[in-house]
Symmetry: C2
Subunit: 334 residues, 2 copies
């Protein structure tokens, strides 16, 4: 059996309350007593019982990373490991633990929501890549569970941290324009996700700013998967006259696009230039290395946790919205 507060109290010759105060850094305890108690604690390797503490404080020190059903198939995208790294690092400094909730089906989503949230396992939630109309957001709002969304949300009550997708996309397309490309296509993300919409908007803004007419045939929707990028590129290769460059809304889709181009017997960037989005580690290793818009993925995750921590501890009452800036990384594809 493990040690309890009571054990430590006995060993240190004080009361349970005093030990509790020491453990929680309560000021009113004599330094010498505090020292004595700490000595005992260290000697026997005492650690407070998490469940007991939770029951008393109504806090678990656990936050959840929840990934909705709609996108959990995208979980293999290198984006997520990076996001998770950022999140776990921040969790460590805030003394939080991270629970992972991947929803696979709507039923499971419902079920897991109850098991996880309503049984109060979590102090708060980081919500990754939701669709704009996701019911999860409403639910969390209704249940009063603190959460931060990765990616903007229009509801004024939700806190989020996002990258400036519009600016990023503009940078990408304007870079292509500067290099002389005029017939620039785009493979978008899912248009029911904010990131998909915003990157498309940036594309349009860039063209408009440079007085390049918009050709709807050059806009193909993707789904953030490699296969989706390949399919979208194949559609793009069919339009006449063929685009000479393409802005792809994620690196993973860019890999698919590259394959499609190669498969058609064309060269990158000679025949068609590519600019991606994300700068996942693989981007630099592609052949040729991918020109892309870098978003600070780890920082995205870490910032979300920082905000959530403030929310949970009641340090702030109002929703926080922070937008991080991306940067263009020029490599060889465009």
């Amino acid at each position: 059996m493990a040690y309890t507060l009571e054990d430590i109290a006995r060993l240190a010759g004080v009361s349970r309350s005093t030990v509790s105060r020491v453990v929680n850094n309560h000021p009113s305890v004599r330094p010498e007593v505090r020292q004595r108690v700490w000595d005992v604690i260290r000697e026997v390797g005492y650690q407070p019982h998490a469940a007991a503490r939770s029951l008393a404080t109504n806090r678990t020190n656990i936050i959840g990373l929840v990934i909705p059903e709609a996108v959990s198939t995208l979980f293999t995208d290198p984006f997520f490991p990076l996001l998770i790294r950022g999140i776990t690092d921040a969790c460590y400094t805030h003394n939080y633990h991270l629970m992972l909730a991947l929803f696979s089906t709507p039923d499971q989503e419902e079920d897991l929501y109850n098991r996880l949230l309503k049984s109060r396992y979590l102090d708060g939630v980081v919500l990754a890549s939701t669709r704009v109309d996701d019911l999860l957001v409403q639910r969390l709002l209704d249940d009063g569970i603190p959460f931060v969304s990765i990616g903007r949300h229009t509801d004024t009550r939700v806190s989020y941290v996002d990258v400036d997708n519009v600016a990023g996309a503009r940078m990408a397309v304007e870079h292509l324009l500067r290099r002389g490309y005029q017939r620039i296509a785009t493979i978008t993300g899912p248009l029911n996700m904010a990131a998909g919409q915003d990157r498309l908007l940036g594309y349009k803004q860039a063209l408009a700013a440079h007085r390049v007419p918009l050709d709807e045939a050059l806009i193909q929707e993707g789904d953030f998967t490699e296969g989706g990028g390949l399919a979208a590129m194949e559609r793009l290769l069919d339009v006449q006259p063929r685009p000479t460059a393409v802005f792809v809304a994620s690196d993973t889709m860019a890999m698919g696009a590259l394959r499609a181009i190669r498969r058609a017997g064309l060269e990158v960037p000679a025949d068609i230039a590519i600019v991606g989005f994300d700068d996942v580690p693989q981007a630099a290793f592609m052949n040729p290395p991918l020109t892309t818009v870098r978003q600070p993925i780890e920082l995205l995750g870490a910032t979300a946790v920082d905000i959530l921590a403030d929310q949970v501890t009641g340090k702030t009452d109002i929703p926080q919205r922070v937008v991080l800036m991306p940067e263009l990384v020029v490599r060889a594809t465009g």
Copy 2:
């Protein structure tokens, strides 16, 4: 304030114990009463308080996926998302929740171990890709915490689930031999990991079985990263006579090797054939598509959880060791 057992009891006109029995499917409660209680529960959306329950039962229904410091830099490998998928799916059916523990530094490892394990947040642990001499294993053993290792371990007390790495490597190399390649190199995984050792052993066995002399110069150690694969391949390209084929112990390293070969102005598979290991999703999308040894990564994770569940619930006393079979997927690189 949320509902408690007491509330439900009052609303249903029974005692708290009866409600508890209903919730926990205890047999001795009259069907009509059971029904009435369930109705109330559903009506108000009652969910038992996890912390309270844990305190009483001494179980949290949370298991941890812990990734040691040594390998957590590999976390961006597509292997992990797949493993996590398998784990989360199995967790769902076992009614477990998954906590993610990535150790970044030795200090953090020590610290997190205490915060997480000794404060009894977890019922058990899935240990991913440890080194053979990892102290973590000893520690978990000493502390009597149920755990299952992904990847074999020599200590007879540890349960593990592994893929037959020796057989997989043999299959890969024998395939190359059948295709007529004689000068076959290998890029190994880290040789302080069981998977690294075993795949190298399989390579050696295949050569021996076919009476092909072993050339130590053709064995280069990698670290399961793309950069490591590239560097190892560059070393391999320097040996004379040059290898005509290479068995690479992970797909991620294979991508690096492919780059190195291309960079040297050579073609795959015309000049050098490649066979990888893992069959991550990207393998099929490579150019050319990668011939590789497929391991059932999701199943690996799911099986680990299944075993762990039996361990935690006391369904079994003895360490379980299960080995899954890989299969060769022949595509275009070799």
